[in-house]
Symmetry: D2
């Protein structure tokens, strides 16, 4: 086996990354060494690359980023029993503490002491990655090879869509980044009556249609309120899946949520914002859910099962495939809004 590997390294407390040759790590007890076959980039990686305020407060260089990937088990540490060399795997990169109230009551996805691989410790933008056995997900043969590196954001979408009843419901998805787009496909596959999408970027709007949205609106030009009220007989939508984090979109969306509806919020607003709680939540008897990560591991079982039905076509959202060494190009494609999901192949 190789002793060194290619890795994307955030070497310094500054913008940019380096592509370096570094030692292949050894799996300790309970750890798994995975040869990375495909890794996918995410907005978080762009924050780290750009070294913005959030990154400056959270990231401690040197760090190998990357938290979306799939690969093959290369070696296992002492005591590992659930996978063996040669198994195809992906992983949940949120490592829960296992000891807090949330972890001990089936809510590890909101662990008080979570540590994220690729953010708080080395991740998957490298030829090899070290993953605790508890977090390894052995891939079903039913999962298409090209989708295996997308389970992290697909899991966000599945978690949000299935956080309440979705079959026979009208649905509004606000924000059509990767997770919003995946949510459209998941909602349709799970029997949603109609899925309406709202997005400012024209490229993403066309992908939203390809993912199965029944109606895709541009908040900058379309009369969103009018059209969605007309579509829903004046009632508003049953379910809001908020993926934008933009206050204006969120306010519009809440005004379109029907009395007694569900709003599941995953998009992260960058700061506090105003909402008309009386009109939009209280008198409406609305249910609002904060959504974070993926349920460990209920969401993973759900993803596997949904992918196996063959009803989830994620292809339209995969806009680019590059070499891992072309990482900076991937960042630029993401920054410009040209790319949605970019899949990287290490050497």
């Amino acid at each position: 086996m190789r002793t060194t590997m290619q890795a994307v390294v955030k070497a310094h407390a500054a913008a940019g990354v380096e592509i370096r040759e570094v030692p292949v790590p050894d799996p300790g007890p309970g750890e798994v060494l995975v040869r990375v076959e495909a890794a996918s980039v995410c907005g978080t990686d762009l924050h780290i690359y750009n070294w913005d305020q959030w990154a400056q407060g959270r990231i401690h260089p040197p760090l190998i980023p990357g938290h979306e990937f799939a690969g093959v088990v290369a070696a296992v540490g002492q005591g590992v029993t659930t996978v063996k060399e040669g198994d195809k795997v992906s992983a949940e990169m949120h490592v829960a503490c296992g000891k807090c109230l949330q972890c001990r009551t089936g809510q590890a996805h909101i662990c008080q002491h979570v540590r994220i691989l690729g953010v708080d410790a080395n991740g998957a933008f490298a030829s090899y990655a070290i993953i605790p056995e508890t977090n390894i997900w052995k891939l079903s043969p039913a999962i298409p090879h090209d989708y295996a590196s997308l389970l992290d954001p697909l899991g966000n979408a599945v978690h949000t869509v299935l956080a309440g009843p979705i079959a026979a419901k009208t649905v509004l998805v606000t924000g059509c980044g990767a997770i919003g787009l995946f949510s459209i496909a998941v909602a349709k596959a799970c029997g949603a009556a109609k899925v309406y999408a709202m997005e400012v970027n024209a490229n993403r709007r066309s992908v939203a249609a390809a993912m199965g949205a029944d109606l895709v609106l541009d908040p900058a030009k379309d009369k969103v309120e009018e059209q969605i009220l007309e579509e829903t007989g004046g009632t508003g939508v049953d379910v809001l899946l908020e993926m934008s984090g933009h206050p204006a979109a969120i306010r519009t969306a809440f005004s379109l949520l029907r009395t007694g509806g569900r709003a599941s919020l995953l998009g992260i607003p960058s700061k506090p914002f105003e909402l008309d709680f009386a009109r939009d939540i209280i008198f409406k008897g609305a249910i609002v859910q904060g959504i974070n990560g993926r349920k460990m591991f209920e969401t993973w079982f759900q993803m596997e099962a949904l992918l196996a039905t063959g009803k989830l076509n994620l292809e339209p959202a995969i806009t680019h495939r590059l070499k891992l060494s072309e990482f900076s190009q991937a960042m630029q494609l993401l920054q410009s809004g040209e790319a949605i999901k970019v899949i990287l192949k290490p050497e």
Copy 2:
């Protein structure tokens, strides 16, 4: 308007029915007169026709049976505001009392004093039927014309399938009469991972496949336990939809329910039977739900929404279309097992 109409009449406390010309009834206050365009037959109608023990205890002739239909509003009684002449409609034929604990807490489908039109009062096997406004369902243009008379049994299926999470779940349907068959289509449309069906009648098994079942088994010949355990990796199914009412099928099905699974029971066993509660329910931490009728009117909104998606193909289950005057022939087709749903057209 006509003053007399064609009607199927259970005239006497004996087997059989008569096709008679009877007066068209007048709608009283809060009532709607519907011109029946299509009515569908059900096992209950066969019980009434055959005058079996259940029918002898429940039915008081003379009675016009029939509780599955669609039509057009011909006239409305005093105070009716939600429909008008010419509207296409169907109806929930369980008339709830509105005053019992169940009715006052959102569970009118299990009203303690329910009265069923077509069983306890005149129903829809006639050119015209009288329906209380509370029970009328105004049809969405999205509902295909041929399906409009099937909303009662489709509603049983939707109620059962959506009584718990179904997306990404493995499902076993035991018994492929009309409701079982509809359940297959509904479960698939709502994102079920796999739907396995079990049925003794070869004709129904082939319809089950046409409705979308992933695997259809004959309990008389196939190794049901073995095959379903193999399909589910030894775990058993997540969800059991019991539509047969047969003790042997129910016992087999419970043994195949996974630990922590859901069993929704709609099929009616004709008498008490033995089950291994310790192994099949208690140690398993199973959830067992008795399912009755359709939720008023949540299930109706769900049906309408699911039919509008175009994903529910009910056609394979409609085996015959006859004139209302051919009612006895419909009964024979049902009795022989040759027919599943027979749609009747009054004159």
Copy 3:
């Protein structure tokens, strides 16, 4: 029977009311005439009395206000079967349309076309009141006489407390008006682990303690965050019952809600306000519920059952008992913050 009666009348579009002698109304079909024995005043009545902006937009004089009361059936209209002369009753004063999506799916408490007696039509501040049979609540003998006029606000409290699990939970109640105070008693009776209360008014704080709060804090003086985090081992509370409608209190309360907690909002903020959705809802995976009115009629069954246990001591919140003719004095007691619940007796 008397032909005229004493009534509080909002006669003109201006502040104040008149005490008048008006004709006793006749119950129409489906209506019940109730002789009012006790009626209770509420903040809404003060809005109407003061003729504030909300009242100017909603109220159409002349109107008899009053929506909290108990009494005895004096006469019933045609077709009424569930109560008879002499029965002790109260009533749900939200009259739902029965025809909208919400009404037809078990959510009549958020009916799109609700009409409130005492606000949109004559209410109960009179010797007699007319109530539709659908809204009458026949009182169990188990309900203490003095509490029978408080079922409307007690119902708000029960609806809020029981909108999610409460047994074994730590609870924060923000705002100790009548509904907040009742919520304390209800939460304790239903097995809450600890109930913390937050209130600026000293009088209400002492009543909060009398209702059973384990810790009562003054946000103006106490270190609320510090004390509640210490009480909950740094985790925050499991459940927030928001009864104040004050943005500052709501923000403090959300910051004290534990990761994965439930926030049930009943207090009505007077305008939009800022919240840190990312920190307080999304990353926390919180559940936020808008709460409106009382569930029809699940909440009423719950109230009756809880009162019958003898565990709900509402007495500390009943601060005054006056004659109906002393209505303006009641308004002043409420305005000054001196009164919590004032019970009025008509003549």
Copy 4:
């Protein structure tokens, strides 16, 4: 520290046990050595003692039984961080595999590969016991010392009672062994409207009354159906907590469950039995739940919180306190029905 300890040992595949002096075990990595201060006996221990058919199929001597206890940490193995020497602790004795579907989806209490300490491996009827850190429960100071060894059966009761809404509900508890008795206290503390109990043993009936049951019936003498229907206005009970495992009691109880009610089954019937599924579950729209063990660790948090309220008086169910060396006497007291909970003190 001592090198040998007193232990109850099932030495041979035959009835009876031996009290022996055996070596104090060493805690391995991730294990905790606990000095047992109190241990409590359970029906399972009697099965092991009597060497009945179940025991012959499950138990592999030599074994130290005992799965209900409390004590003090005496030493910790490598890597243990959540407790330290001197901490007061109890433990969940069901050791879940952590790797099956159920364990990975928050249902470790129904793990497919569970191993029970005191049944499948050495337990707590000794001066010291070895417990994996994952299963240790650090005792809150709020838990009364005498109750600390009863958390296992109390947890069964809490799990059953809180498996659905209980506040404001009428409840029937069938079977007043320890878990049934604890269920009465828990249901009352959580706001149950009324708790009815059914039990054949006179001693247990009097304890049931002491635990707070509103009505205690003897199925051998009382007209159970008549009395409970009268108590519930002819409707039947909202919730059934089945703790007897006796077919006749279960059938009676199901006939008394109201339409739309919940039946939570924990008692273990010794073999399959007949039930009228159509009448008792299906037409009724009932929810039936199999209940097993305690939720890990939601139930433990709930127990701690409920005990801290001071509302759970378990004392009436603690009938005897003996030395561990008097184990055989404890078995005889249990066998005769004289004892409910016997607490043993090791030397």
